[in-house]
């Protein structure tokens, strides 16, 4: 099995139909177009990738977060998996209780090939490619082959944005951390598969820090006063995926899953 295929299949249980398709195809992915060698990888004396080498830098001295990243496991199912308690308002709790046993799984947006929203898409079980460009950081998500733009040209969040699935994102640097603020969500997204709710008042802060060559720290703060009594924060740890590439993922191509979802 290729490194890619093993990385894909090691990602743990995918319980959602939209992602089941790629798991099945992933098993047979031995072709060389996925094994393109990532250039510029630091090596140890014995030639192995040195994933704990220092994070690369941009010409302007900022850390370069660019690369192909694999989500941390577990957060897709339950973003609050490592939290003792989520400060839910009654409205949020009621919605969560309706969803958490899977009774409404058919209504989950990505089960219908609709976007996962932020920050759930960061936890998708397929990789994403971060490109740190001039004036914007772009994330190409293999999940449904979507992209997201994070403007780093100094603009502010718009006051009256068009409501969207992925929101409007701006980023700025605080030391070595890229701080991304997003709002303007359409209120239809779920924060995870269990169904932690989000409203159109959702404001997400993602703090990206490249700890070393192979590891990102991603601290996510959820601020949604309609659903939660106060902001709350989780920490995910995406890891670098070497010698691989994004695959094309058209969710609604030959889609046969939704009709089998119960109830």
């Amino acid at each position: 099995m290729s490194a890619k295929a093993s990385a894909r299949t090691r990602r743990g249980p995918f319980i959602k139909p939209a992602f089941a398709a790629i798991v099945l195809t992933g098993v047979s992915l031995h072709a060389q177009w996925l094994n393109f060698k990532t250039p510029g990888v630091p090596r140890t004396a014995d030639g192995k990738p040195n994933l704990s080498a220092p994070a690369p830098k941009m010409p302007d001295g900022k850390p370069d977060l660019s690369g192909l990243w694999n989500a941390d496991r577990g957060y897709l199912v339950n973003i609050a998996v490592n939290l003792k308690e989520v400060p839910m308002r009654p409205a949020g709790l009621e919605l969560f209780n309706q969803r958490k046993d899977g009774a409404l799984a058919k209504e989950e947006p990505d089960a219908n090939c609709l976007p996962q929203g932020v920050p759930k898409i960061d936890a998708a079980p397929v990789p994403w490619k971060l490109i740190q460009g001039r004036g914007e950081v772009t994330i190409l998500y293999e999940a449904f082959s979507q992209f997201r733009e994070i403007f780093t040209d100094g603009r502010e969040l718009p006051k009256d944005p068009n409501p969207t699935w992925l929101g409007y994102s701006v980023g700025h640097w605080e030391g070595d951390t890229l701080v991304v603020e997003s709002s303007g969500f359409n209120g239809k997204t779920w924060l995870d598969q269990m169904g932690h709710p989000a409203s159109d008042a959702l404001h997400v802060t993602e703090r990206f820090r490249r700890k070393d060559f192979g590891h990102l720290e991603l601290e996510i703060t959820i601020d949604d006063p309609k659903m939660y009594t106060k902001p709350w924060t989780v920490k995910e740890n995406p890891s670098l995926l070497l010698d691989s590439e994004l695959l094309e993922f058209n969710c609604n191509e030959n889609e046969r899953d939704i009709r089998h979802m119960v109830p």
């Binding site: 992915l29 072709a31 060389q32 177009w33 393109f36 250039p39 219908n112 090939c113 609709l114 976007p115 490109i131 460009g133 001039r134 004036g135 914007e136 772009t138 190409l140 082959s145 979507q146 992209f147 733009e149 040209d153 603009r155 718009p158 006051k159 009256d160 944005p161 068009n162 969207t164 699935w165 992925l166 409007y168 303007g184 994004l246 695959l247 094309e248 058209n250 609604n252 191509e253």
Partner: protein, 281 residues
């Protein structure tokens, strides 16, 4: 309405341009400031207006920089104004400017004629599928190009999707996974970026008429930014299964300033498809 640096025209080709129609309706009310954010580093004339004829910008390594928001060529809007979207004739027939049209194989011509007679009711883009290569360049939605030394990314508003063109010197794969955007590598020929694509899924539509393309296709795109405001993409399709000879067309692209991509999720609240079949003649 979206600020449009070039034509300012909007056009509705046919009722079957479903997703475009949805976008049109939403665009009509889009006065929000998030679209009016000024594009950085636009060359200006002494009077301060954008100088779209200024030289094409270059990257630090000296190559032309294709980065920016681009739209396809549209038919000119008459003086009295135009209520509808006015796509270029290449949207309907990518070979419209070729003498004698595309050199179809007999089966390919018959299929195109059949689809054309049905007013494109089976158009894959009407079913929220990606346009693929090279049709991406003739759709009415804008595209944003992002260029790094190793990669040219085309963000496509029509699908909220993206296409990657690798500039890092890798060879085309021998046995690629079939994909709507295929697998693309580019290399520089002077100031022209020459992009070769293989591995396209079988059965892509090249235009609204339904000119077919098979999985045997090799597509070569020569990207040339003539100046700040204009780009030409010379597209050669070599598909011996569907065409008797390779053919080449030029697709003009125009810069869009002071605007951004919108999020357009084709499947979101999709209500058009049931009405489509009624439109087929």
């Amino acid at each position: 309405m979206r600020t449009n640096a070039t034509s300012g025209t909007w056009f509705l080709s046919s009722a079957i341009l479903l997703c475009a129609a949805a976008l049109l309706f939403s665009v009509a009310t889009l006065q929000g400031q998030w679209l009016g954010y000024p594009t950085a580093n636009v060359p200006r004339t002494p009077s301060g207006t954008p100088n779209l004829g200024a030289p094409a910008p270059r990257t630090a390594d000296g190559h032309p920089d294709f980065s920016g928001m681009w739209e396809a060529e549209n038919r000119p809007c008459p003086k009295e104004g135009c209520a509808d979207m006015r796509t270029s004739e290449q949207f309907f027939d990518i070979g419209a400017r070729l003498k004698g049209g595309l050199p179809y194989q007999p089966w390919a011509r018959a299929l195109m004629e059949q689809r054309k007679a049905a007013d494109g009711k089976d158009d894959l883009t009407s079913r929220c599928r990606p346009p693929g290569v090279p049709r991406i360049h003739t759709l009415t939605w804008p595209r944003k190009y992002l260029q790094t030394p190793e990669l040219l990314v085309i963000l496509d508003e029509s699908t909220n999707g993206f296409r990657q063109i690798f500039l890092d010197g890798r060879a085309l794969p021998k046995n690629p996974q079939p994909a709507w955007n295929g697998y693309s590598v580019g290399k520089w020929d002077g100031d022209t970026l020459v992009v070769e694509t293989i591995g396209l899924v079988d059965g892509l539509w090249l235009d609204r008429n339904g000119s077919p393309m098979t999985d045997a296709a090799k597509v070569t795109e020569r990207f040339h930014r003539l100046n700040y405001g204009n780009m030409q993409i010379e597209v050669t399709v070599d598909d011996p299964k569907a065409y008797t000879a390779p053919w080449t067309v030029t697709l003009n692209q125009y810069i869009m300033i002071n605007t951004e991509l919108l999020e357009d999720i084709c499947l979101d609240n999709e209500k058009d498809l049931p009405h489509l079949n009624a439109l087929g003649k």
